[in-house]
């Protein structure tokens, strides 16, 4: 299992790097799907098959598809890729990368400092998760429901296209 874990991890990291360096949105999204699949394997290795499934269904399936739909709706063409190339210079990587590396180093330091013994990843199946969800976390589930509801309403409200109507958040205010 070790090997599976490390291979999946490597694929996840590499594909994510590809995601963040692509100029073309669709390419990036495809790499993203790869990354999600790899992570899903990691989940499986860690003994969470239910979540692994969810990862594929929701992330790799629903969310990525949603984004692709939007890209299609926006009808982006080659100019978008050109513009992306223009924006994404090497110079721009330096600052964020530096910051992130520092942050990662600190995280790694903390993680490695408190070295614990290895563990056997037990299998926690959907039943255990379901019991937990509808037991102690039932309030959380309900809140999630409300959140999704809000998300739907919000998306509907914002996504509505009225012609020539400027949304009040974006209309130009008088000085």
């Amino acid at each position: 299992m070790h090997l599976t874990f490390y291979v999946a991890s490597a694929i996840a990291v590499l594909s994510t790097i590809m995601v963040i360096t692509r100029y073309n949105l669709i390419h990036a999204l495809l790499y993203l799907v790869v990354s999600f699949l790899a992570i899903s394997i990691v989940f499986f290795v860690l003994g969470a098959p239910f979540v692994a499934a969810l990862e594929i269904i929701v992330y790799a399936g629903a969310i990525v598809v949603l984004i692709i739909f939007v890209i299609m709706m926006l009808n982006l063409k080659a100019e978008a890729v050109e513009q992306e190339r223009e924006w994404l210079t090497r110079k721009i990587f330096i600052g964020p990368a530096l910051l992130s590396v520092v942050l990662l180093a600190e995280l790694a330091y903390m993680i490695l400092q408190s070295r614990t013994t290895d563990f056997n990843a037990p299998m926690l199946d959907a039943k255990a998760v379901g019991l937990s969800l509808y037991g102690p976390y039932v309030i959380g589930v309900e809140l999630s429901g409300i959140l999704l509801m809000a998300g739907i309403v919000g998306a509907y409200h914002l996504g509505r296209q009225k012609k020539k109507v400027v949304h009040r958040f974006l209309e130009s205010t008088e000085e």
Binding site: P96, L99, E106, Y109, M110
Partner: protein
């Protein structure tokens, strides 16, 4: 009869109120009637009470109402009548009345006629309260009240900027003295728990032995108050400028009454000064130095009224000198005579100035003795009294007494005597310089109109008084009349003459007489026989002359030391340096506001960057700690 006492200040007060409230609607006659009439009524009541007092000369207390009551501290509106206040009452009401009559003509052409009488009445009222008060707090009320009226009357012609300046100067300078006096009151209150004068005078000798430190302090502080009000060194600078007021004001306030309030205060609290010999000596020294300095300044003035002003300072110096050597009744006697002749001189000077179209410079007058014979005659009598011409003038008797006691009194002192003697010489020089320059020689100006009866009558009455009043008190060598000092003896102790000095009195009188006459002679020589000589002398010593002319430069000194720094600090700090601290706080807050607002760029990536940096910082801090 004595129950009418409260009416004496009440009449002028009523007059003042009527004039303030309705004066602008009154005719001049009516205003005169109210103004002079009310003081006249006071004078009448004073006379009645005076008779009653003579027949039964015990002190009389009248309690009107309790002013404030805090525990045992209960100062009241209450009057205390004794011989000392009787004399002051008499002088204030009678001289006041005469001056009111005089003013009715003097001010006849002025648009502020009613206002003038209102202020004058208010002054008389305050002055009467001052001398009648049975506690120091009420006395302080009168004290400040006369200060106010003095301010109002000096600045009576308010359109002139310099009059307003002189008025404010007078008020503020005297207030400096009042501050000292107020602190004296605080100490007295702390020590005795009361400010009732008679109780204080009784308790003081029991609480303090002679030379007690506290008594000394109180003495000096009261002296401070007296010095301010009576224009003595070092607070004398306001009086010459106070001549900006109308002449009757100068006569009443700045010669006869208010400026002698200091003398009254010290005489009233003489017990304290007897317990503090150093303070009393200081009174004498202040008097002696002042009379000399003011005398020299009087020698150089050209303005008729300024000569008289310096002369007033100098004469009050004599009174202080007398107080300083314990010759209490001599001081009061000189006060009374001085009130008569100095009022006379001021009124006379006022009349001259009026008919000469407000010409103050006496070197532009000259030869007036033919044009204004009555004024000349009365002025001469007054001047003679001031110069203490022997035997015939009141001034001689009062001043001679002071001179004599300055040397022969128990607390007498040769230096004080010599100062007084020299002062007497200067006095007669500057007095007759004034007379000769004004009335003799060539005419330089035109007399506009004759002087009316309302102005002349008071002059004549005062001339008579200043001559006759002197005979109330004659020395041993000349008749030995002691009406005045006997009258005062229940209030003020008599001075003891040193036993070894008694025989020499005649000699001293002769010396005083010779000095006075030689002064007149010198003046005659300089200003009538050799009129060119004075200017030559003046050119010889321009520095000294200027120093004397500006009153020894006290004005410039105070200006540099106090006034200018105060005004400078005030001007510099107009916008309140402490506020800068708060505006500074605001500036700092605004700076941070701008700095933080700048980070609110609207670009999401920057916000994320901020979050990351924040996370790094927090983690780093967490790791380091």
């Amino acid at each position: 009869m004595k129950e009418l006492l409260w009416l004496i200040p009440a009449w002028p007060l009523a007059g003042a109120l009527i004039l303030i409230l309705g004066g602008h609607r009154m005719s001049r006659t009516l205003a005169t009637l109210v103004g002079a009439g009310s003081v006249g009524l006071s004078a009448l009541i004073t006379l009645l009470i005076g008779f009653a007092f003579l027949s039964a000369p015990e002190p009389f207390d009248q309690h009107l109402w309790t002013w404030m009551a805090i525990g045992n501290f209960q100062p009241s509106f209450a009057f205390h009548l004794d011989a000392l206040s009787m004399i002051f009452l008499f002088v204030i009401t009678f001289v006041g009345f005469l001056i009111h009559i005089y003013s009715s003509e003097f001010m006849a052409g002025d648009e502020g006629f009613a206002r003038f009488f209102a202020y004058l009445n208010l002054f008389v009222c305050s002055m009467l309260i001052l001398v009648l008060a049975d506690n120091l707090l009420l006395l302080y009320l009168g004290w400040e009240g006369v200060g106010l009226c003095s301010y109002l009357l000096i600045g009576f012609w308010y359109q002139e900027e310099k009059n307003g300046y002189a008025a404010r100067k007078a008020f503020i300078v005297t207030r400096v003295g009042d501050t000292a006096m107020a602190i004296g009151l605080f100490i007295l209150f702390q020590t005795f728990g009361t400010l009732h004068i008679q109780s204080l005078l009784q308790q003081a000798p029991q609480a303090w032995s002679v030379g007690d430190q506290t008594a000394l302090l109180v003495g000096f502080l009261l002296l401070g108050g007296a010095v301010g009000k009576s224009a003595q060194l070092p607070l004398q600078t306001w009086l010459p400028d106070a001549m900006a007021g109308p002449s009757p004001v100068s006569a009443l306030i700045h010669a006869a009454t208010m400026v002698t309030a200091g003398v009254y205060l010290i005489a009233r609290t003489h017990v304290i000064f007897e317990l503090a010999p150093q303070a009393q000596l200081a009174v004498g020294i202040v008097g002696a130095v002042t009379l000399l300095l003011a005398g020299f300044s009087a020698l150089t003035q050209n303005d008729l009224k300024r000569v008289l002003a310096y002369s007033t300072i100098s004469q009050i110096g004599y009174m202080f000198l007398a107080l300083g050597v314990g010759a209490w009744s001599a001081a009061i006697f000189h006060f009374m005579i001085h009130a008569f002749f100095k009022a006379l001189l001021f009124l006379g000077a006022g009349a001259i100035i009026l008919v000469l179209h407000h010409e103050h410079d006496m070197f532009k007058m000259g030869g007036l003795r033919h044009k204004l014979p009555v004024i000349y005659g009365t002025f001469l009598i007054g001047a003679a009294s001031l110069a203490a011409i022997p035997l015939v003038t009141g001034g001689f008797y009062s001043k001679d007494q002071i001179l004599w006691l300055a040397w022969a009194g128990e607390r007498g002192n040769v230096l004080l005597y010599l100062a007084a003697l020299f002062g007497a010489f200067i006095t007669s020089v500057y007095t007759f310089r004034m007379v000769f320059v004004t009335f003799f020689g060539a005419e330089h100006s035109h007399v506009s109109h004759p002087v009316g009866k309302a102005m002349l009558t008071p002059l004549v009455v005062l001339a008579v008084l200043s001559t006759l009043a002197g005979f109330l008190e004659l020395p041993h060598t000349l008749g030995h009349v002691t009406i005045f000092s006997d009258f005062l003896s229940p209030v003020l102790p008599a001075v003891n003459v040193r036993p070894d000095a008694e025989s020499m009195e005649l000699l001293f009188q002769v010396i005083a007489a010779v000095v006075a006459l030689s002064g007149v002679g010198l003046a005659y020589y300089l200003y009538v026989l050799k009129p060119d000589l004075p200017s030559k002398i003046k050119e010889e010593i321009p520095g000294l002359h200027h120093l004397w002319f500006v009153g020894w430069g006290f004005d410039a000194l105070y200006d540099t030391l106090l006034v200018r720094p105060f005004v400078y600090i005030a001007k510099v700090n107009k916008h309140d340096v402490l506020d800068k601290f708060y505006t500074g706080l605001v500036t700092v807050a605004e700076f941070f506001h701008r700095a933080l607002a700048y980070t609110q760029s609207g670009m999401m990536r920057w916000y994320v960057m901020g979050i990351v940096i924040g996370a790094i910082l927090m983690l780093t801090i967490g790791l380091i700690l």
